[in-house]
């Protein structure tokens, strides 16, 4: 499988993990030093921080996510994937829907065993009230 195809599989794993409420499937795609820079939120580093961020969300809601890849460039042992994301979150108890859409950059790192892992996630939302 090519580097590009492997990275696309990882992206799908993350999205399918979110949509199926399987947090461990999501974090299995992450580098130990994964850095998450979500808009207006504190930057986090490490897999446990991903668990801490997503566990309450998955406990509370179900998700339906989408992703459209705009660019995927491989630079030796780094790869940058840029795309547009969308996610619909449905609260398990109330049924209320939320979510958002925007642009996202993911940086992947190739490990010595040839596997790729997500090292960075930075995003912006399309619509945001002035905070």
């Amino acid at each position: 499988m090519s580097d590009v195809d492997e990275i696309k599989v990882l992206l799908d794993e993350w999205l399918n993990g979110l949509d199926s409420g399987d947090l461990e499937r999501m974090v299995a795609t992450c580098d130990p030093d994964v850095t998450i820079c979500n808009e207006y939120q504190p930057t986090t580093i490490g897999i446990q921080a991903v668990r801490d961020k997503y566990a309450p969300r998955i406990a509370e809601s179900t998700f339906k996510s989408g992703f459209e890849i705009e660019h995927l460039n491989v630079y030796d042992k780094f790869a940058v994937l840029i795309g547009r994301f969308s996610v619909v979150a449905t609260h398990k108890l109330s049924g209320n829907k939320g979510g958002g859409q925007g642009r996202l950059a993911l940086v992947y790192r190739k490990h010595d065993d040839g596997s790729w892992k997500m090292l960075l996630d930075i995003d912006n939302n399309d619509e945001r009230d002035a905070a």
Binding site: N73, Y75, V107, R109
Partner: protein, 145 residues
């Protein structure tokens, strides 16, 4: 890593000093290419905090149009870090603090930037992505620069 970090910090700071001079109109227009555009790879993509993606030519056009447009604009760069380095490629982060940013919804704003930068005879920027820092962080800062 330390020597690389020194180089990267200088690159980031000098680039943003150029931005301020450019938007202040205090630097010659001829400096756009050597001080900024020549630092970008041909396929560079910049994503603004509003999620707008711009390529090299769009950045060039935007800068040319905004020359001297804001005399009060200031930037402070903080927290330059190299998150990872493999060979000549580095994943870099820093925070950028702006005041007098009339084109932004918040004239005093704060963003975190991630960049993929390649070492060589000079530093080359391949990818730049900015997103807003938490509002509580922005509000707590005195913007004393």
């Amino acid at each position: 890593m330390t020597d690389f970090l020194k180089d990267v910090r200088r690159e980031v700071v000098e680039l943003h000093e150029f931005f301020v001079s450019w938007f202040n109109g205090s630097i010659d227009r001829e400096e756009l290419e050597p001080r900024f555009l020549s630092h970008l790879s041909a396929d560079v993509e910049f994503i603004s905090p509003d999620g707008v993606a711009l390529g090299r030519e769009q950045l060039k056009a935007g800068f040319e149009a905004a020359y001297g447009a804001n005399l009060d604009f200031k930037i402070e760069i903080r927290d330059v870090k190299i998150l990872k380095q493999f060979g000549e490629i580095m994943l870099v982060t820093y925070t950028e603090w702006q005041k007098g940013a009339r084109a932004s919804a918040q004239p005093q704003n704060a963003r975190i930037t991630t960049a993929l930068i390649e070492m060589g005879s000079r530093l080359t920027w391949h990818h730049i992505h900015e997103t807003w820092l938490p509002e509580s962080v922005r509000q707590a800062d005195p913007f004393a620069f």
